[in-house]
């Protein structure tokens, strides 16, 4: 019973870690550029397809596809930021929503055309399959791997943002873009780099997540609400807020579906409503 509960909790944490990895870029675009990017999930999907393509067509090992998925989606993100997104930073949120939802449907159509409508398989390396025993508990090896990767990335991100000169420049641009610009910080370049980083992490999350979230052309729509929830509940522009929110959502979603399957997805929406009423600016609202 207890072991079972811990197993569910662990699955929830793994799921939440994945949500966090994918959503952090959405938090960045919202917190830094004040841009509502509903197409964010499409970048995660792209990362997933890059991973599958590399494995099935060219026989690249799964682990080697991960950095490539990151770089490929970051590059596409950077190009789209320079050519399209940038033009809408000053537009109304409604315009941004219309633009990015349009982009989402284009991505869905393109993915259906290129790879067909079906679920893509992923064959994990033997090393990452099965279960391992940790303190007498049987835990899924792959989920353990997922959590480890996300923990490592979270620490790396925190270091980048808090300890480096680049991180200080990013924070100054979030605080006051005009003044940052006026004291010699290339705010546009920072926006591009952060957008690329955010989409790259989404792509990495999409690739890592095939085994957990699945991968088909409807991916960006299916999970859109989850990514938005993480940012709405966690607050934009921070690392800690979305991390906590993603873990809470992941745990409640998995536990809800396991213990009360009749209610299913209803649980997290209830949770969302309650959290938004309790913390209208997000758990760690940046702009209080």
């Amino acid at each position: 019973m207890i072991a079972n509960f811990i197993g569910v909790l662990f699955d929830g944490i793994a799921y939440g870690s994945l949500l966090f990895l994918i959503s952090i870029g959405l938090s960045v675009t919202l917190g830094l550029m004040n841009f509502v990017n509903l197409a964010h999930g499409a970048f995660a999907m792209l990362g997933g397809y890059v991973c599958v393509m590399l494995m099935t067509r060219w026989g690249v090992p799964f682990l080697a596809t991960l950095p490539i998925a990151f770089i490929a989606t970051a590059t596409v993100g950077a190009v789209l930021e320079r050519t399209l997104y940038r033009r809408l930073y000053k537009a109304s949120h409604l315009d941004q929503v219309l633009f990015s939802i349009g982009l989402t449907f284009m991505a869905i159509a393109a993915a259906t055309y290129a790879w067909g409508p079906s679920q893509q398989p992923v064959r994990l390396p033997d090393l990452l399959r099965g279960q391992v025993e940790v303190f007498g508990l049987q835990l899924g090896t792959y989920r353990l791997f997922l959590v480890a990767v996300v923990v490592a990335i979270t620490f790396a991100l925190a270091w980048l943002m808090e300890k480096t000169r680049f991180g200080a420049q990013v924070r100054s641009a979030v605080d006051d873009a005009d003044v940052a610009n006026g004291v010699g910080i290339n705010v546009n370049l920072i926006f591009s780099l952060m957008f690329a980083l955010g989409t790259g992490l989404a792509g990495l999350g999409g690739a890592l997540g095939i085994d957990v979230l699945g991968l088909d052309p409807t991916f960006p729509l299916k999970y859109m609400v989850y990514f938005l929830l993480v940012v709405a509940v966690g607050g934009a522009g921070t690392i800690r807020g979305p991390l906590v929110a993603a873990l809470v959502l992941g745990i409640f979603d998995v536990a809800g579906k396991y213990y009360v399957p009749q209610v299913g997805a209803f649980i997290i929406y209830t949770l969302m409503v309650l959290l938004l009423i309790a913390f209208p600016a997000g758990l760690y609202g940046r702009r209080a």
Binding site: A168, Q169, R171, D178, V179, G182, V183, G184, I185, N186
Partner: protein, 233 residues
């Protein structure tokens, strides 16, 4: 002498609005200017226009003979124009140290030198920018401009809201900086007499235009003109 900074028939504002309307100004290298004018005359807008933070409707802003029209603000800053904004422009999520190290550029004023100039900042290196007192924030805004080792220093009401002893301290520092003659300084001030006492020249802005220019010593010796041009009604 060579012109360092020049404004030629500059019209600029925010969005569609026109705040500067035909402003003309020329500053030689090493010169100091008090930029005076009533509240809302457009003094801050003029400094922001030099930085590229307003919309330029017409005219040219020249720096070392080059038209700046196509340069974004960060390029102007790196080319040697430093700006101390009126609201001080602190970054709440940066420490005092980060305020300086993220923008410092090679030159005689290193970060350590800035801490020598402002010992009270040295003691608060790891405090966030918005936790400082008003005087400390102003010092940090000035220190941040100095560690850029600029050729032009634009100061927007640096004495605003400070205790008299700190005003005297800053005045001494600015007088020294101006006296060294290495930098071109534009000082926007509500305290006209204070600004005139440490600068060489003065210009008065009214409704977006320079309406009067004179040596600072001459204007300070002519209270009725000064009264007419800048006295708060």
């Amino acid at each position: 002498m060579t012109e360092r900074l020049g404004l030629e028939r500059v019209s600029a504002g925010y969005g569609e609005s026109v705040i500067l309307d035909g402003a003309e100004l020329a500053l030689q290298a090493g010169e100091s200017l008090a930029l005076l004018g009533r509240n809302g005359a457009g003094k801050s807008t003029l400094l922001r226009t030099v930085m590229g933070l307003t919309r330029l409707h017409g005219g040219t802003v020249r720096y070392d003979g080059r038209d700046l029209a196509r340069d974004p603000p960060w390029k102007r800053s790196r080319a040697g124009i430093a700006w101390v904004p009126q609201e001080r422009g602190m970054f709440p999520s940066l420490t005092v140290d980060e305020h300086l190290t993220t923008v410092a550029r090679a030159g005689p004023c290193t970060v350590d030198r800035a801490y020598d100039l402002f010992p009270s900042l040295a003691m608060r290196r790891s405090s966030p920018g918005n936790r400082l007192s008003g005087g400390e924030q102003q010092m940090l805004a000035i220190a941040r401009a100095l560690v850029m080792n600029p050729a032009v220093l634009l100061l927007d009401e640096p004495m605003e809201g400070l205790a008299p002893v700190i005003v005297q301290e800053l005045k001494g520092l600015l007088a020294t900086l101006i006296g060294q003659g290495g930098m071109t300084v534009v000082l926007v001030e509500q305290h006209a007499r204070l600004a005139l006492s440490i600068t060489a020249r003065a210009a008065v802005l009214e409704r977006g235009r320079i309406v009067h220019q004179a040596p600072s010593a001459q204007l300070i010796a002519d209270p009725s003109t000064l009264q007419r041009l800048v006295a708060v009604a």
